[in-house]
């Protein structure tokens, strides 16, 4: 079982050393808010067009929000939180997810590869009510059936 050789790039180190903790935190926040919005969309079973309709935007704007590059204003965050009916602070929380991978991964170079791709992880997310959602993260397809688990 050969693993990939670890490669430590001095060029990357050089750039990371010049990055301030604030710059890193800014990037982290943008990407985590995007991830949170995506997770909420999956939980609600909304696609980009549906969510765009909820917040009165074009789907292309939602693509930008989900890209993790958007510098959100407070006004926009309030609109987003309102659409999801959550507190704005929830957009900043990072739920710990337990990712369960398929045991075996099949990748074939057929034209249908896009349908299966690789190991699409199942994400087992605990919600506020103590319920859980088993979601199929890739392509925003969600099995949104909730079922109860003891807290």
């Amino acid at each position: 079982m050969n693993k990939a050789r670890k490669y430590k790039s001095p060029l990357i180190d050089e750039l990371l050393e010049e990055t301030t903790p604030i710059e890193m935190e800014q990037t982290k926040s943008k990407m985590q808010i995007a991830a949170k919005i995506e997770d909420l969309m999956i939980e609600r079973g909304w696609n980009k067009t549906q969510f765009a309709g909820m917040v009165g935007k074009n789907p292309s704007e939602i693509t930008k929000w989900l890209s993790g590059t958007q510098n959100f204003t407070i006004d926009i965050l309030i609109e987003i939180a309102s659409a999801f009916k959550v507190n704005i602070t929830e957009l900043f929380t990072n739920k710990k997810e337990q990712v369960i991978y398929r045991g075996k991964i099949a990748v074939k170079s057929s034209g249908k590869a896009a349908e299966i791709n690789l190991s699409t992880p199942y994400v087992y997310t605990r919600n506020e009510a103590g319920g859980s959602a088993l979601t199929f993260q890739e392509d925003q397809i969600a099995y949104s059936s909730f079922y109860n688990t003891a807290k």
Binding site: Y7, M31, V107, A113
Partner: protein, 172 residues
């Protein structure tokens, strides 16, 4: 096409493995070449790209929404959706290409300057070369996976097998 796939220590984490490629005869990765070629003019943008890659590896995974699908129709028809560009910041002019395997792994290629007037990579010679190159590597890597020279670890998170592919008969 002979190359070695290496894991980039600074980016790879528990959410996604981040790899790059060292072509035979070279000592640094395609991603390092990309940095080297652009650090004088676009250091700020490279820093942003680095930050994003670090987050992907350690905190968010390689979510599809962070990437824009690239590659031509022929490639997608033949192999599927594997070639992507990392979405860049609004004020950025650098585009980085990679091979993405679900949310669990990416293999970084190179990239280049993308003028805002350029809509498609085909309109830029530099970007075309980079996309053609990453498509060629992707085709070779997918072939290796098909032939089980490369495979995924039991938990689906790590690429294993013949990562130093120096005996590819296709080139002969």
């Amino acid at each position: 096409m002979n190359y070695e796939i290496v894991e980039i220590e600074q980016f790879s984490g528990c959410e996604a493995k981040v790899y790059s490629i060292i072509p035979e005869g070279d000592e640094i990765t395609l991603y390092d070449r990309f940095i080297e070629g652009h650090k004088n003019q676009y250091k700020g943008e490279l820093k942003q790209i680095n930050n994003r890659l670090k987050q992907i590896g350690h905190y968010t995974g390689a979510r599809e929404n962070y990437f824009k699908q690239e590659g031509d129709h022929e490639f997608v028809r033949k192999y599927g959706s594997y070639v992507y560009a990392l979405y860049d910041e609004e004020d950025s002019n650098l585009r980085l290409y990679c091979i993405r395997f679900s949310t669990v792994a990416i293999i970084l290629g190179g990239g280049g300057f993308k003028d805002k007037s350029v809509v498609k990579w085909q309109e830029s010679r530099e970007l075309s070369e980079e996309v053609e190159k990453i498509m060629a590597y992707a085709a070779s890597i997918i072939k290796q996976i098909d032939e089980e020279e490369l495979y995924w670890s039991d938990n689906g998170s790590e690429l294993l097998g013949n990562l130093k592919n120096y005996n590819n008969e296709d080139d002969e």
